[in-house]
């Protein structure tokens, strides 16, 4: 039963909410309450712009359970314009091929459905090619 974990993580997953370090101004994602740069305590919430670029990617043809209806799909390391690198699916590629350096923006999408039709829907961030 994973429902409590999904519930705890919802803020950072729906909206890319991380932290900013009050000592050195580093932007932190995912939030961990301690600054990875200066070691100081960092608990101030920070809304990331959601903009970044593809740092690296791979295309999944064999997907883990819950994701298998979406294959093939691309998973990327996205370097956010504020600094941190996050792992996320790419979406809305249409006929575009993912590429390193591709400018992307965060969208909130359905990540997966619990295996049976009675389960909950899990939403979270993905990235797509910038709209304009």
């Amino acid at each position: 039963m994973e429902i409590p974990r999904h519930w705890r993580l919802k803020k950072q997953r729906y909206g890319l909410v991380g932290e900013v370090c009050p000592h050195c101004d580093a932007k932190i994602f995912p939030p961990r309450d301690v600054c990875p740069h200066c070691g100081g305590e960092a608990k101030t919430a920070f809304n990331f712009s959601g903009r970044g670029e593809v740092y690296s990617y791979t295309v999944m043809h064999d997907a883990p359970a819950g994701f298998d209806q979406n294959t093939p799909y691309a998973v990327a390391l996205v370097k956010l314009e504020e600094g941190p690198v996050v792992t996320a699916q790419l979406t809305d590629l249409g006929e575009e091929q993912p590429r390193i350096g591709m400018p992307v923006e965060m969208v909130t999408r359905k990540i997966r459905e619990d295996a049976n039709e009675r389960g909950m829907l899990i939403y979270g961030y993905k990235f797509r090619p910038v709209l304009r």
Binding site: K11, G15, N70, T91, D92, G94, L121, Y123, L131
Partner: protein, 359 residues
């Protein structure tokens, strides 16, 4: 009670003037051409009521689409989401039967917890129901800002006439005090009757339509009655409006409604999106309005009339202010989304709409 009496007191006018502070559209990327549906079901003979319709991606639903439209509306409004006192979503395709769309949208945009979150239903006018209620919340001074969304991912039974048009998209509106508005909503008028033109029982995936009820007694009667009452009660004539937007289940119905009411084709062109995105149900009238607001100029006057089966219409009298110009640019336009277009074939459509049994 005479009809005259009902009519005179029918205008919905807020106690304090209200308006649209921000708005935002959303249309998913994929398009299914009408010719593709015809190829499968009629061997390519017979026309299509629209050129193509928008189709959501595998990871999209009314919740994700509402979140993006709401973020666009917030970008234009320039307010902190904590200032919203309502997040209301009107749709026929809420992802959960029990569990509100509104709470997930409110959480994702950062509006929780001091906010009313609810889902509205009234077939294709669920969105304008939420819009009217938001006018009331702000107009009564219970709240300064309220978010109303009309959004759908409509489905037609494979091979049914609705499969050509049942589409995905919609728009979000933040209502607030008129002095901060990019467009003032002077008043609303709602006209309803018990009409069995179109319905879907609980637990059924696809809707039914009471064939001979869909045109005259349903769509045209309600749209023209609401529009005529609005014109009468405000002393306006069709030529006083720069733009008019009518609910658009296809291309022909809104064109005919406009002509019956005395509006010219050029008044409805900017807001007539069904030929290129299909019928977005609860999103249709509101995304027509967002396309108009994208190009509107200060002083323009807009008539919007929605229609929902079952049946009813909401009419709105809207005046654009000088705040429109700077806010138009602060988020993607409706046409930006329409131009982002990947055509798909019927097989891909069937797969991404979840119509293949894989279990």
């Amino acid at each position: 009670m005479t009809e005259e009496h009902v009519h005179k007191n029918g205008l919905l006018k807020p106690n304090r003037p209200v308006g649209i502070i921000g708005y935002g559209a959303y249309v998913p990327r994929y398009r299914l051409p009408g010719a593709e549906v015809a190829r499968i079901w009629t061997g390519g003979t017979g026309g299509s009521p629209v050129k193509e319709k928008s189709v959501p991606g595998l990871d999209e639903d009314v919740i994700t689409m509402s979140i993006e439209a709401a973020r666009n509306a917030l970008a234009r409004a320039g307010i902190d989401p904590f200032e919203l006192r309502a997040v209301w979503v009107g749709s026929e395709s809420h992802p959960y039967a029990v569990k509100p769309t509104g709470t997930i949208v409110a959480e994702a945009i950062g509006a929780t917890p001091a906010v009313s979150a609810a889902d509205w239903e009234f077939a294709c006018k669920a969105g304008t129901e939420a819009f009217t209620a938001a006018m009331g919340l702000v107009g009564s001074k219970m709240a300064n800002y309220a978010l109303a969304i009309g959004m759908d991912t409509a489905q037609g039974r494979p091979g049914d006439a609705l499969e050509y048009t049942a589409a995905a998209g919609g728009a979000a509106y933040i209502l607030g005090p008129a002095e901060e508005a990019l467009a003032v909503v002077d008043s609303a008028y709602s006209y309803v009757s018990d009409t069995p033109d179109f319905f879907r029982r609980a637990e059924q995936k696809y809707p039914e339509h009471g064939q001979r009820f869909t045109g005259e007694p349903a769509y045209f009667t309600h749209i023209t009655s609401a529009a005529r009452a609005m014109l009468d009660l405000t002393g306006a004539a069709p030529e006083d409006f720069t733009f008019a937007v009518f609910h658009q289940p296809n291309a022909k119905f809104p064109q005919r409604a406009a002509s019956l009411l005395g509006f010219k084709p050029e008044q409805i062109t900017a807001g007539l999106l069904s030929p290129v995105i299909g019928n977005t149900y609860a999103g249709a009238a509101l995304i027509g309005l967002s396309a108009v607001l994208d190009i509107a100029k200060p002083g323009d006057r807009i008539l919007v009339v929605s229609f929902g089966s079952g049946a009813g219409s909401d009419a709105f009298d809207i005046r654009v202010t000088d705040k429109i110009t700077e806010r138009q640019k602060k988020a993607p336009t409706t046409q930006d989304y329409i131009a982002r277009r990947t055509p798909i074939d019927y097989g891909t459509y069937v797969r991404i709409r979840g119509n293949l049994a894989l279990k």
